[in-house]
C-alpha cells in the first residue's frame, strides 16, 4: 500500500509540472506584450521597460519558467494587475467558498445519486426505473447556468427561504448547491444503477439469495457494497470537476469564489490572477484524484494497478 501511495505521488509530479508549464505559457501566449499589459494601458515606454525587467521578461524562457516555479513553491503567484495585491492572498480569501460549494454539491449529488441509482437498479425495467432514469437524463442535459437562473427566478424570488445571491448562510447556499450538484447526481445515479445491475447478476449474490438471506440485506450489504467501488472513482472525479463547474455557478449566484474571480479577471485582463486561479484549482483537482485513487485501491484490494 505504501509503495503504491509513493508511486502514485511520483506519477503526479510530471502532471503537476505540465500544469505549471501550461499556466506559465498562458502569460506568454496572450496576444500583446505581457509587460505592456502588466504596466497598464497608459504606461510610458520606460515604465514598460521597468516592468519587463521586474518580471524578468528579458531572461530566456527556461529561466523565467524556473523563477515562476520557484515562486509557486514559495507561495508567490505574483501580483494582481488591478489591485496590486498578492494573487495568493486574493485566492486564499476565496478558496474556502469554492471548496465548500464543490464539497456540499458533491455530498448532495452522492446522496441523491446513490438513492436514485439503487432504487432504479432494484426496480429494474419497471416504471420507477424508467422514470428515475429519464429524470437523470434531464439532469445530465441541463446547463447549470440555466438551472441556476430558473431557481433564482422561480424559487428564490417567490420565497423568503432562499436567497438569490451570495454565500455563507444556508438560505444562500441551498440553491447554488442544487445547481452545481444536479448533473453530478445524474451521473452518479446512472453509474450506481449500471454498477448495481452488474453485481446483482453475479454468482455470490445468487448464492446469498439461495441461502435465504433477506432481499434487503442482499441489496444493501452484499450488492451495494461491491457496486460502490467503481462509483467511488466517479465521486472523486465529480468533486474535482465541480471545482471547475463552480466557475459558472459562482457567476450565476454572485458567489465570491475563485471561479468568479477567474472569470472577472479574464474580463479585466488581470492575467496573474487567471494564471494563479487556474493553477490552484487544477492542483487541487490532481490532489483529490490521488486521494480517490488511494481510496479506490483500499476499497478494492483485488485490483492490481500495475
Amino acid at each position: 500500500m505504501l509503495t503504491f501511495i509513493v508511486r502514485r505521488l511520483l506519477q503526479t509530479i510530471p502532471v503537476i509540472i505540465g500544469v505549471t508549464i501550461l499556466t506559465f505559457s498562458l502569460m506568454h501566449l496572450i496576444p500583446g506584450d505581457p509587460a505592456q499589459i502588466m504596466a497598464g494601458e497608459s504606461a510610458s515606454p520606460e515604465q514598460i521597460e521597468l516592468m519587463r525587467e521586474r518580471l524578468g521578461l528579458n531572461d530566456p524562457l527556461p529561466i523565467q519558467y524556473f523563477d515562476y516555479l520557484k515562486g509557486i513553491i514559495q507561495g508567490d503567484l505574483g501580483n494582481s494587475i488591478r489591485s496590486g495585491r498578492e494573487v495568493s492572498g486574493e485566492i486564499a480569501l476565496r478558496l474556502g467558498n469554492t471548496v465548500e460549494l464543490a464539497f456540499y454539491s458533491t455530498v448532495l449529488s452522492v446522496f441523491i445519486g446513490l438513492i436514485a441509482g439503487v432504487i432504479s437498479a432494484v426496480r429494474r425495467y419497471t416504471f420507477i426505473d424508467t422514470f428515475v432514469m429519464i429524470i437523470a437524463l434531464f439532469g445530465l442535459s441541463m446547463p447549470a447556468f440555466w438551472l441556476g437562473l430558473m431557481l433564482i427566478r422561480y424559487v428564490a424570488i417567490n420565497s423568503d427561504l432562499f436567497a438569490a445571491s451570495g454565500w455563507g448562510t444556508w438560505s444562500q447556499m441551498v440553491l447554488p448547491i442544487i445547481t452545481l450538484g444536479t448533473a453530478g447526481a445524474a451521473i452518479i445515479a446512472r453509474m450506481t444503477r449500471s454498477s448495481m445491475l452488474e453485481v446483482i447478476d453475479q454468482d455470490y449474490i445468487r448464492t446469498a439469495r439461495a441461502k435465504g438471506v433477506k432481499e434487503q440485506v442482499v441489496v444493501y450489504r452484499h450488492a451495494l457494497k461491491n457496486a460502490l467501488i467503481p462509483v467511488v472513482t466517479v465521486v472523486g472525479l465529480q468533486f474535482g470537476s465541480l471545482l471547475g463547474g463552480a466557475v459558472i455557478t459562482e457567476s450565476v449566484f454572485a458567489i465570491n469564489g475563485i471561479g468568479r474571480l477567474i472569470v472577472d479577471s479574464i474580463r479585466s485582463r488581470d492575467f496573474p490572477i487567471v494564471q494563479g486561479g487556474i493553477l490552484v484549482l487544477s492542483v487541487l483537482f490532481v490532489v483529490v484524484n490521488i486521494i480517490v485513487d488511494i481510496a479506490y485501491r483500499y476499497l478494492n484490494k483485488r485490483i492490481d494497478l500495475n
Binding site: F145, R153, V247, I266, L281
Partner: protein, 298 residues
C-alpha cells in the same frame, strides 16, 4: 471488450464482409431501442430545422421592435419577445445552426486529434506512448470547463475560439479510448499475421485497427457533442464565447438574465432549447452504446 476481440479474430476467415454483418446486427438492436430512435429522429429534425428553419421563420432574428419588448408567448410571437422586442422563436431557430455547428466542429477537432494520438500511442507504445499520455494527463488535470476557459482567455472570446478550445478540451477522452482499443487489437495474432504478409503500419492502422475502434469512437463522439454544446454555451453565457447580438443560446440567456424578473421566458426558453438538443444527443448516444458496445449486450 472480449466480444469485440473475438469478432476481430474471426475477421480474416469469414467470406461475408464482417462489417456488413456487424452493421445488420447493429441496426437490428438500434431500431429496437426506442429512445435511441427517438434521439436520432430528433437530431435529424434539428439538423433540418437548422438548414431550412431560418428561411421559414416569420421574423428576422435581429430586428428590434422596442414598442413590443418582453412580451409573453402569443400567436404572433410563439416564444414571446426579448428586451429589444426581437422575436425569440426566430432567434432560437437561427441559433439551432450555431449550436449544432459548435457541437459538431469542436468534437471533430477533438476526434481527429484524439484518435490520431490514441492510435499512435497504442500502436507504437514505448516512449512515444508515455509522452502522449502524460500530455493527455496534463490536459485532464484541468477540472471541468477550466481548460476551455484558459484557452479561450488566451485566444479571446469568439465563437470560433470557443470551438477550438472546446475541441482541445475533448481530445484526451478520444485519445484514451482509442489507445485502449488499439492496444487490445494490436495484441491479436492476426495483426502479426498481416504484418508477416508485409503490410506496412499505415495499412495495418487503417485497414485493421481503425475499423475495430470505430464503435467506441462513434459512441463517444455522440456523447461528446452533448457535453461540448453544454460547455460552449456555458462559455458564451459567461461572456467568453459568442457575442451579442448573435442568437447563440448561451449568449441569449446571459443577455436576457437581467430581464427575467419581468419576463421569465427570456431566460427560460434559450435554456430549454439547449436542454432539448443536448438531451437528444445523450439519448442517441446511450442507444448507440447499447447497440454497439458488446459489454452492454443483454
Amino acid at each position: 471488450m472480449n466480444e469485440e476481440i473475438n469478432n476481430g479474430n474471426a475477421l480474416p476467415q469469414t467470406t461475408v464482409n464482417p462489417n456488413v454483418v456487424k452493421m445488420k446486427t447493429f441496426w437490428k438492436k438500434f431500431i429496437r431501442n426506442k429512445p435511441a430512435v427517438i434521439g436520432g429522429a430528433l437530431i435529424l429534425f434539428f439538423i433540418l430545422t437548422a438548414l431550412i428553419g431560418p428561411h421559414l421563420v416569420p421574423h428576422s432574428p435581429n430586428v428590434q421592435n422596442l414598442a413590443n419588448k418582453l412580451n409573453g408567448p402569443s400567436a404572433e410571437h410563439w416564444f414571446g419577445t426579448d428586451q429589444y422586442g426581437r422575436d425569440i422563436f426566430s432567434r432560437i431557430i437561427n441559433g439551432m445552426g450555431i449550436t449544432l455547428y459548435v457541437g459538431f466542429f469542436s468534437v471533430t477537432i477533438g476526434l481527429i486529434v484524439g484518435v490520431t494520438l490514441g492510435i499512435i500511442s497504442g500502436y507504437y507504445g514505448g516512449k512515444l506512448d508515455a509522452i502522449i499520455m502524460r500530455i493527455m494527463d496534463v490536459l485532464l488535470a484541468f477540472p471541468g470547463i477550466l481548460l476551455a476557459l484558459a484557452i479561450v482567455s488566451v485566444l479571446g472570446g469568439s465563437l470560433q475560439n470557443v470551438i477550438i478550445s472546446v475541441g482541445i478540451f475533448s481530445i484526451p477522452v478520444f485519445a484514451r479510448i482509442v489507445r485502449g482499443s488499439t492496444l487490445a487489437v494490436r495484441k491479436l495474432e492476426y495483426i502479426d499475421a498481416v504484418k508477416a504478409l508485409g503490410a506496412n503500419d499505415f495499412r495495418i492502422i487503417f485497414k485493421h485497427i481503425l475499423p475495430n475502434v470505430t464503435s467506441p469512437i462513434i459512441v463517444q463522439a455522440t456523447l461528446s457533442i452533448a457535453t461540448s454544446i453544454l460547455t460552449a454555451s456555458g462559455l458564451s453565457f459567461i461572456g467568453m464565447g459568442a457575442q451579442p447580438p448573435m442568437p447563440e443560446w448561451g449568449a441569449m440567456l446571459s443577455d436576457g438574465r437581467n430581464y427575467m424578473y419581468d419576463a421569465g421566458h427570456v431566460a427560460a426558453i434559450p435554456g430549454l432549447a439547449i436542454v432539448v438538443v443536448v438531451l437528444a444527443f445523450n439519448i442517441f448516444g446511450d442507444g448507440l452504446r447499447d447497440a454497439l458496445d458488446p459489454k452492454m449486450k443483454n
